[in-house]
């Protein structure tokens, strides 16, 4: 993990006397997310969105009424970039850069290679490095995969079948727990939970048993893989999302392309990434 792999390219340059409102717009438009700041031709630091936010007028309407426009318009880049520029050499460690930034109110350091500024390292970039380190130290791969299967009794559901096959392969490769969820919109919730449900209970119980058998046939021989089936009643999207939340799924696999309404609805509310097969 080196500074080079986490730093940003130096964006455009602003003058320290530029209006802060103009600078805020420049920072927003800059793909690197920060700009360099010069004072009489010499680099004095870098301006990040956090600097602009800290020095700029209040974003709270309740406070903004006390800030007269003629005063806030006088704010310049100098109000946001204060103190000496932090300069770290390209071959310094990320720890050295973090210590240098921590000792000052600046939120970005200039990275130099000899006399040339080759990049900018912000507090956000350092946080990114910490996150990456934590992720590398944590468990790799996926631990819990959930696949949504529709119409298990019907042979004409190739989308579900291939989603299930993809999910089985992913679970096998990652040695992950696989949950196969099937939601029956017209099944009584009480029956799905194993309770009595009035006059048509027998019919519903028969439908549930049929679904279980079909699902088992569809999954087939899993050869040591940890697979559990989950049959739910009610709205399909709600059922899939509830199953994902209940199993803390790392990944949801759904079939039904192209342009599946179910897939889009699951993506919009899913607690984890969704693989659309």
């Amino acid at each position: 993990m080196s500074i080079k792999t986490f730093m940003r390219s130096p964006g455009r340059t602003l003058d320290i006397r530029d209006h802060l409102s103009d600078a805020a717009r420049e920072v927003r438009l800059e793909p690197a997310g920060c700009v360099l700041v010069k004072d009489r031709g010499a680099l004095v630091g870098a301006l990040t969105p956090a600097d602009v936010h800290a020095a700029g007028p209040s974003t709270l309407p309740a406070l903004a009424v006390y800030e007269h426009a003629s005063l806030t318009e006088r704010l310049t880049v100098a109000h946001a970039v204060t103190g000496e520029a932090i300069v770290v050499p390209l071959d310094a460690s990320l720890g050295d850069a973090a210590r240098a930034l921590r000792a000052t109110p600046q939120r970005a350091a200039l990275v130099t290679d000899g006399a040339e500024v080759v990049g900018v390292l912000t507090a956000d970039d350092l946080l990114e490095a910490v996150i990456e380190r934590l992720e590398r130290d944590g468990p790799s791969g996926l631990a819990r995969v959930l696949v949504a299967v529709s119409q298990p009794a019907s042979p004409a559901a190739p989308g579900s079948r291939s989603a299930l096959q993809v999910a089985l392969r992913i679970a096998r490769l990652h040695d992950a727990m696989l949950t196969v969820v099937h939601v029956m919109p017209r099944l009584s919730p009480a029956i799905a939970e194993g309770l009595s449900a009035g006059i048509d209970a027998d019919v519903q119980r028969w439908r549930l048993a049929e679904a279980r058998t079909s699902l088992g046939r569809l999954i087939g021989d899993v050869d040591g893989l940890a697979v559990r089936t989950d049959i739910r009643a009610g709205d399909v999207v709600d059922g899939v999302l509830a199953a994902a939340a209940g199993t803390s799924a790392d990944l949801i696999v759904v079939g039904g392309r192209p342009g599946s309404v179910l897939a889009r609805a699951v993506i919009r509310r899913s607690p984890c990434p969704v693989l659309v097969v």
Partner: protein, 149 residues
């Protein structure tokens, strides 16, 4: 499972996308291609004279995008994955699908951001178009309200 993942990048530091690529490909390894799609550029004309030609503009934009991705590529390589970056110009969904076919991607990974109405109208439903037309599975995560893979 997937050994060639095309990761669509729309920000300089695609943290969520990197997490996915790492976790999805962790057991078997493989190749990750980071794809940046930039809007088509036009020649800059001032007072009837061409100040910057399209290819000059594209070269500049391409270099800036590649510089931004250099670090990400290096970090993926540190994880033992094959990593490369590609920059295309044009309509995002068409460029992503063309890149997926040309590179023979086995999965396309993309981040869905909540778009304001005018932006959605301007750019179209990029994720929706890719889901409809992709020849390979598509991994989609939202930019917020979701834990990384």
């Amino acid at each position: 499972m997937f050994t060639r993942a095309l990761v669509v990048v729309d920000r300089p530091a695609p943290r969520q996308l990197l997490s996915w690529a790492r976790r999805l490909m962790a057991p078997a390894g493989g190749d990750v291609r980071l794809l940046v799609v930039l809007p088509e550029v036009r020649a800059v004309v001032a007072d009837g004279r061409t100040v910057a030609f399209t290819d000059q503009q594209e070269d500049g934009a391409r270099r800036a995008a590649e510089f931004a991705l250099d670090g990400v590529v290096a970090r993926l390589r540190e994880d033992g994955l094959g990593a490369s970056a590609e920059v295309r110009f044009g309509k995002p969904s068409a460029a992503v699908l063309a890149a997926a076919r040309a590179w023979r991607a086995e999965v396309v990974a993309i981040l869905e951001r909540p778009a304001r109405r005018w932006r959605a109208w301007l750019e179209g439903d990029v994720v929706g178009d890719i889901l409809k037309l992709s020849p390979v599975p598509v991994l989609v995560a939202r930019s917020s309200g979701q834990r990384s893979a």
